[in-house]
Point group: C2
Chain length 228, copies 2
Amino acid sequence: MLDQYKQQHPYLVALDSIIFGFDGESLKVLLVKRGMEERTWSLMGGWLQPVESLEQAAARILFDLTGLTNVYLEQLHAFGDPHRDPIVRTVSVAYFSLVKVADYESKITETYQARWFSIYNLPPLLFDHGDMVDLAIKRLRYKAAQHPIGFELLPEKFTIPQLKKLYDAVYNTEFDKRNFSRKILSTNLLIKLDEKQKGFSRKGAYYYQVDQTKYQQATDSFLNFIPT
Amino acid sequence: MLDQYKQQHPYLVALDSIIFGFDGESLKVLLVKRGMEERTWSLMGGWLQPVESLEQAAARILFDLTGLTNVYLEQLHAFGDPHRDPIVRTVSVAYFSLVKVADYESKITETYQARWFSIYNLPPLLFDHGDMVDLAIKRLRYKAAQHPIGFELLPEKFTIPQLKKLYDAVYNTEFDKRNFSRKILSTNLLIKLDEKQKGFSRKGAYYYQVDQTKYQQATDSFLNFIPT
DNA sequence: GCAAAAGTGTTTGGGCTACACCCATGA
DNA sequence: TCATGGGTGTAGCCCAAACACTTTTGC
């Protein structure tokens, strides 16, 4: 190894994931109690391994907890305050992910002690994990305003009222249902199914699903996505 | 140190800066030829030191090259492909910054071999620095479309036509001057000065400066910032 | 038949776009 | 006086916001 490299200090590199889910009513974050820190809730995290990229590591860690693959995963921010971990200096790269709660629900408490918390009712968190969550919420709002990522939080089939409730929860407000559905449908990203939701309301709402082809393209383009 | 930490591999952590500048005509990036890599241009970068945060490190490195402080500096992305640096595994946190070219111009070539390159005419770059620049341009466009960060690239006093040229350069297009100035002025972020620019045009354009108070607040809020 | 949620239509105002003319000045 | 860039005004259009009524169905 060259001198220039030898003189430098190496640091531990961790990954932490802010995992968002939506249960039909409010926006939730998945927290765990890990290892030595029995008393404090924290984000799901782990260490970067020699053979993997940051993104691969984040996906691996997410898989360990949830058993899910093919999940929406986006790098949030690298946190590197010298004293963020009081034991040993660690740089943590935070990722945020959006998961469909229904897809796995059961798995999460098998190995880990994990629980969903409403974003408006979070417990004290380990290290700077609270900052990470705050930033992730901000980013989610920012991003969901222009990109149709909200679908990632719902099951394959969902109704427009469900989608509206999700947006209501994310922005902590109440959108106008008429303008909302007009706006959403005008994107042409949704395919109306023949099936109606049963049990929830008398009338029943039509199910929709995402047009995956169009969705892939739209993800990269600008869309102003918040109606009234 | 606890076992959990001991078993983990540490890595070198670097910082790289995409430094944008505007010379009145086109958008530029500042590149250097560093150390051993005499033959390849690269971004300005350095190693994370034990006592500093990521942001402090990025600011320090930027200061070393340009002598500037109080510069617009924003974390772009952490790059961690296992083989991005072929010699030793390194995680690099990239920052992008916007500097006022006029403020220092002279200093940059004293210690380092540095040069401004048009973003449309970049040389081959070291490692994954090309990806970093691409991402930074994308982010700059994305961000400048909604936040008034364009001012960071101009001197304290600037004219509306100068600002329009900057936006033209960033988006590689030509905005309509009437709509552009209406839009910019409607934000009320600019203070018109009594002074006119001399020498460039016959008539001379009025200088403006940023209303710092309002600007600080606006930075955090949504503004749709691109006219025709 | 009534309660509760789903679904749809209209009007209005503001902002964006497109476009054209006058102004100030140095040469 | 003329050439060059600076500065402003307007009409049309589209989109977003505000708002109310009808439909469906389980009880």
